[in-house]
């Protein structure tokens, strides 16, 4: 069970003066149950890539296989693909429209052909998953706070019970606690339900903290693909393509240059703390 991309290329306005290659020969395998961070500067092709994964955009050339089936094969059921691969857009709260929270979350499962009763059951489960209790169900989604609205929107996708959840910058504009809460909930879903998560993010710190694999996009191509500590080792190259590494990476590399016997590949606060303390211990300091 996985998503496989083979030589996927996407060209805007082909054969005209405005021709732009948004994706160039992208080859990827997204295995079941992975938690992936997708990074890249604005215009690097991240959003175009994720829109391919649920068939919203069709590749100009190349193949995409979902669970072994070619999604461009004649007769392939795109509706089924879209319910298996859930996509949460940027600022998804702008897409809320129903009179109350429960009806809004029911919209997806009802479209999948479920009965009112079954849809409500799914919606309630999804709302609990994102930490919204029963008292919110009858409220208007427009009267909620920014973080709560975003949770409702994410619940709307979860209620369709996707196998793959793609979130395009789910924390943009949220305060630090709201950001941590949403990411913790997504991380919990990934662990408990085993769903595959693809997190598109501009925050290197968030990516370092949560994901197991990072895909770096640049000018429509995959620039790096690996574990956070491997990818952020290339922090100078990342800067040259408009990205950055987590603050911790810079601190660790400078410490190493200044003679610290510590792991310069640490990318999170927790890892940095341990390796710095260890460096002091190795020098005989009692901590």
């Amino acid at each position: 069970m996985s998503i496989v991309l083979e030589h996927v290329t996407y060209t805007y306005s082909p054969d005209t003066a405005y021709e732009i290659h948004a994706l160039k020969d992208v080859n990827l395998e997204i295995k079941d149950g992975q938690f992936i961070g997708l990074i890249g500067h604005t215009g690097s092709g991240k959003s175009t890539l994720v829109q391919h994964l649920n068939g919203l955009v069709k590749a100009t050339s190349g193949h995409i296989y979902f669970n072994g089936e070619d999604i461009y094969a004649p007769g392939y059921d795109m509706r089924k693909l879209r319910s298996k691969v859930g996509l949460v857009f940027q600022y998804p709260e702008h897409q809320l429209f129903e009179v109350d929270v429960l009806s809004d979350v029911c919209f997806g499962p009802k479209n999948q052909g479920l009965s009112q009763e079954e849809a409500q059951k799914r919606a309630r489960e999804a709302l609990r998953m994102v930490g919204l209790s029963e008292e919110y169900e009858k409220q208007s989604p427009f009267e909620l706070s920014g973080g709560q609205k975003r949770r409702v929107a994410i619940a709307g996708v979860l209620a369709m019970e996707p196998e793959v959840l793609i979130l395009d910058e789910p924390t943009a504009g949220l305060d630090p606690r709201g950001r941590d809460e949403i990411l913790d909930e997504i991380s919990y879903l990934h662990k408990e339900r085993g769903i595959t998560v693809i997190l598109v993010s501009h925050s290197m710190e968030d990516v370092a903290k949560y994901v197991e694999r990072i895909i770096v996009m640049n000018q429509g191509e995959v620039l790096h693909d690996g574990a956070p500590r491997e990818v952020f080792r290339h922090y100078k190259e990342l800067e040259s393509v408009g990205l950055a590494a987590p603050q911790v990476t810079y601190i660790m590399h400078t410490l190493k240059e200044r003679g610290f016997d510590a792991d310069e590949d640490a990318t999170t606060i927790e890892e940095a703390k341990e390796t710095i303390l260890e460096a002091f211990r190795k020098k005989g300091k009692k901590i």
Binding site: G40, H41, T42, G43, S145, G146, G147, A172, G173, L174, D175, P176, R177, G178, R179, H202, M204, E205, G242, L243, A244, P246, Q247, V248, Y250, I251, T254, L255, R258, G259, F260, I269, A272, K273, I276, L277, A279, F280, K283, I287
Partner: protein, 281 residues
């Protein structure tokens, strides 16, 4: 430059028959004083009243109670409305909602043109404003082909061209990638330091706050903390209780200190942390 005295703002909610249902006090008795040339950062969780407060500074909202003076003018006095708006320019989160021109230089010229500035002076202002945000070479470009950080700098240039004494930026980097954030913050700091424009920056990125000379923390419509970045970020636990964070270097220093390393309080930058650790090593 800007002075608030016990400022209160109530949002009123109405039911279907138009009767007043409830009022929500978004800003609750806020007093502060901003001097010319200050760089003020405002922190606070979503719904803490930051944006409501910011909208008072260029009179998009006027106080329900209390008074706000901008450049000596009471913002509630309608005779001064346009002077207030000219003194205090505002930049919002989404650059796409703020750009109207089809060419960068036209967009930047829109503000001064509306003010009735003579044409040759408009062009001078457009040029100096684009230069101030390092976007002069894009003057003949179409805004929709620019990156987020570039668009946001064009939006800032549009405000600068109106020669404001103060710029209020409401989460100007929330939608940008790391490079875009860096460019915008660099432009904002240059306006503050070179052009001596007073800056009020609302943000959720703690790393952007360390350049401010004063930080206001809002919670529940009130200003709950006030001080230099160093003073504010020394109080990690208090900030966390307000749903906020500290810069990563500060957080790492705080964790290491808790584990027994003898580090000073209020470390803000990576460089400070590295120096402090090297002294101990």
């Amino acid at each position: 430059m800007i002075k608030a005295d016990k400022l209160v703002y109530n949002y009123r909610k109405y039911d279907e028959e138009g009767r007043e249902k409830e009022t929500i006090r978004a800003v609750d008795g806020v007093s502060f004083d901003v001097q010319k040339g200050d760089f003020i950062a405002v922190l606070g969780h979503n719904g803490s009243g930051k944006s409501t407060l910011a909208k008072h500074i260029n009179a998009l909202l006027t106080p329900s109670e209390g008074t706000l003076w901008v450049n000596g003018m009471d913002t509630s006095d309608e005779d001064h409305l346009w002077d207030v708006r000219q003194s205090a320019g505002m930049v919002f989160q989404n650059p796409d909602n703020q750009i109207i021109g089809t060419i960068v230089e036209e967009d930047v010229g829109f503000g001064p043109e509306n003010m009735g500035i003579p044409t040759n002076e408009i062009w001078e202002r457009v040029e100096e404003s684009l230069k101030a945000v390092n976007m002069l070479k894009y003057r003949h470009h179409s805004p929709n082909r620019l990156s987020g950080g570039q668009k946001q700098r064009v939006a800032i240039a549009g405000v600068v061209a109106m020669h404001p004494k103060c710029i209020v930026l409401d989460e100007p980097t929330a939608m940008l990638d790391p490079n875009g954030r860096k460019e915008v913050i660099r432009a904002v700091r240059a306006l503050n330091q070179v052009e001596d424009i007073t800056v009020i920056l609302i943000t959720h990125y703690m790393e952007e706050v360390i350049y401010a000379n004063k930080v206001l923390v809002m919670d529940d419509g009130k200003v709950v903390m006030q001080g230099t970045p160093r003073e504010i970020f020394s109080q990690v636990d208090t900030l966390k209780s307000y749903r906020l964070d500290v810069p990563q270097a500060t957080l790492l220093a705080w964790e290491l200190k808790k584990a027994g390393l003898d580090l000073p309080d209020g470390i803000l930058t990576r460089e400070e942390l590295v120096e402090a650790l090297c002294r101990l090593y």
